[in-house]
């Protein structure tokens, strides 16, 4: 428990319940303060925790509100009426950006993200001549929050981009990747498809990572890669001539694209799909990417506070369970979105 840490000696030594070990040494609470004693205590504990991640510091909450949110989570009834492991309503739209090869808009409550996939012909790297390249970039629009203005979004965007790359692109050898990189090759060692996946956060109300991963999954299922005809007349040394078809497109096999489920630890409990107010109350979070077969393809821990290993394993198994429901909801939304086009 954090309370046993030596850093807490400002208020006298505390035992694991958060109450003073020597009640007589602690000055009585000043009479002026009219907030309930429990709230005062919990606020002390909170202040001594580490500052939460950058975006959540923007949420200005009063002590009463913080207490309300944490109390609700402990009772399995969150501020918007959800249960702890319940997602907000998700809505999915495909083909929203015309000039991309594939695109999708995903809304999770008030969070709205757009993901696009663009394919360009490029040259494979020397180290992996038999593979194409995929890169993921995320940008946070200042429309989502004034703090993303100017260079303010760079750090947070980079964090999201790295987390998505880690969770979706798999190991260096390509195991566990969302997209089979060898399917992107056109001519071995010469020409391949470079996939650029761009995410844009339009409106932000927490849980951006899960929303972005879902949007990328939908955008990939919407993506058509033009069929390429290679003229074989050229000798091996010359640059091969490549004819890109305007009419025929190849679809990806997106069945192995994982989803990301972020579990936030608030108090002793985990919640999924946290709104930004709830995000500000988390001590730490674990984002797990899970594919359809229940295999874990990536994991990243967020938030400053350390976690007990057993808690992490517990969170992984909960995330695995939740992800299967999320995948099936997302699949039916994709089908509905395709039917609507």
């Amino acid at each position: 428990m954090r309370q046993s840490a030596p850093g807490f000696q400002r208020n006298g030594p505390l035992d694991s319940t958060g109450l003073p070990r020597y009640p007589s040494l602690r000055p009585p609470p000043p009479a002026r303060i009219s907030i309930p004693r429990a709230a005062v205590l919990s606020s002390c504990c909170f202040r001594l925790r580490y500052a939460p991640a950058a975006p959540s510091t923007m949420v200005g909450l009063s002590e009463g509100e913080k207490h309300f949110i944490r109390g609700g989570i402990a009772q399995d009834l969150r501020t918007d009426g959800r249960r702890r492991l319940q997602f907000r309503a998700i809505s999915v739209e495909t083909g929203v950006i015309l000039q991309a090869n594939g695109s999708a808009r995903v809304r999770l409550g008030a969070t709205e993200v757009i993901a696009t996939v663009k394919a360009e012909l490029g040259k494979p790297s020397i180290l992996h001549p038999d593979k194409g390249k995929v890169s993921i970039f995320v940008d946070c629009s200042p429309t989502a929050a004034p703090m993303f203005e100017g260079r303010g979004s760079e750090e947070f965007s980079a964090e999201l981009s790295v987390a998505l790359q880690r969770c979706l692109l798999g190991g260096k050898s390509g195991a566990g990747a969302a997209i089979d990189l060898s399917s992107l090759i056109v001519i071995d060692g010469k020409v391949c498809w470079d996939l650029y996946i761009d995410g844009l956060v339009v409106s932000s109300d927490g849980n951006l990572l899960d929303a972005l991963a879902a949007a990328i999954k939908v955008a990939l299922s919407d993506t058509g890669i033009p069929k390429v005809n290679v003229s074989l007349s050229a000798t091996t040394d010359e640059e091969p001539e490549v004819d890109v078809s305007d009419e025929e497109f190849l679809q990806f096999d997106t069945s192995s694209v994982p989803v990301i489920v972020t579990l936030m630890k608030v108090g002793k409990h985990y919640i999924v799909d946290a709104a930004s107010e709830e995000e500000s109350q988390m001590s730490s979070a674990v984002s797990v990417s899970v594919n359809r077969h229940g295999q874990i393809c990536g994991l990243i821990k967020r938030g400053g506070a350390g976690l007990d290993p057993t808690v992490i394993f517990d969170m992984i198994s909960v995330a695995k369970h939740v992800s299967q429901q999320f995948i099936s909801v997302l699949d039916s939304e994709i089908l509905a979105a395709e039917a609507a086009r």
């Binding site: 840490a5 790295v162 880690r166 260096k172 050898s173 393809c297 990243i300 821990k301 350390g306 290993p309």
Partner: protein, 261 residues
């Protein structure tokens, strides 16, 4: 002029060629699915030796510094502060930890490739954030600058361990030393403390940053496809290695302080 361009080009091609050979070898081993000797003679669950090659105090200008050498990976970390926050920032009753990881241009086989690892600064910050008692230096900043002199695999875990040693050397209050170890996954096999060649062909990787006395994981990242049981094994393996590495660091700090006296 033309000779020079040819000269700069051929080593990269040769390196690529050599790498491909090594990759073929690894693939052969994987097909056989048996234990294979690692390039540096270790067994799967052996870390590179750390004992002799960790030092505190290589840079004198810093409040604290540390140097670590694990096989080919060489890292130097300097810690400055606690000192006044440079940028005009909002008032904060906790201190700030500012982490920066940079690579020398000659750290990687291909010049300047180290810039690919932009996220390391943020990762280092996250791994240390949970261990440093930020409330002991309000309104001030501690800067942690890590420089990778040579990249030889498992860079980030070594940076994290080295940084916590440097923080201890600087006398920054911490709950515990943070040590970090990564493992690579090849098919069914898990190998610990991979070199860069092994990292280049791994199926998956997992890194743990751990505070052994508090039994808390401050950072955990995982990529590639893993089954449940394997994750548990790998994390436990990492935690065990972290505890041992932490003991080494602690011994080293004790030796250094007794020497200073």
């Amino acid at each position: 002029m033309s000779a020079a361009t040819a000269g700069t080009y051929s080593p990269a091609a040769a390196a690529g060629e050599k790498r491909r050979e090594r990759k073929e070898e690894l693939r052969r081993h994987l097909a056989e699915d048996a234990d294979w000797p690692r390039a540096d003679g270790r067994s799967f669950h052996d870390c590179r030796p750390a004992l002799q090659l960790m030092q505190t105090g290589p840079t004198t200008a810093a409040s604290g510094s540390a140097y670590a050498e694990f096989g080919k990976t060489k890292v130097i970390v300097s810690v400055f502060g606690p000192r006044e926050s440079k940028k005009a920032m909002l008032y904060s009753d906790t201190g700030r930890l500012n982490c920066n990881v940079s690579y020398t241009t000659f750290a990687t086989p291909i010049r300047g490739q180290g810039t690919d690892n932009k996220e390391y600064s943020a990762m280092l910050h996250k791994a240390l954030e949970g261990a440093v008692m930020l409330h002991t230096f309000p309104k001030t900043t501690v800067d942690v600058f890590a420089l990778v002199l040579e990249s030889g695999g498992s860079d980030l875990p070594i940076i994290i361990s080295c940084a916590s040693l440097a923080l201890a050397d600087a006398g920054i209050m911490m709950y515990d030393l943070v040590t970090s170890v990564s493992v690579s996954c090849f098919g069914k096999n898990i190998i610990i403390d991979p070199t860069s060649d092994e990292e280049a062909w791994q199926d998956g990787s997992l890194m743990v940053a751990y505070m052994p006395s508090r039994k808390e994981i401050t950072q955990l990242t995982l990529t590639g496809e893993w089954s449940d049981g394997k994750i548990t094994n790998a994390v436990e393996l990492c935690m065990d290695a972290c505890s041992k590495l932490c003991d080494i660091l602690r011994e080293h700090l004790k030796d250094a302080s007794s020497l200073a006296e």
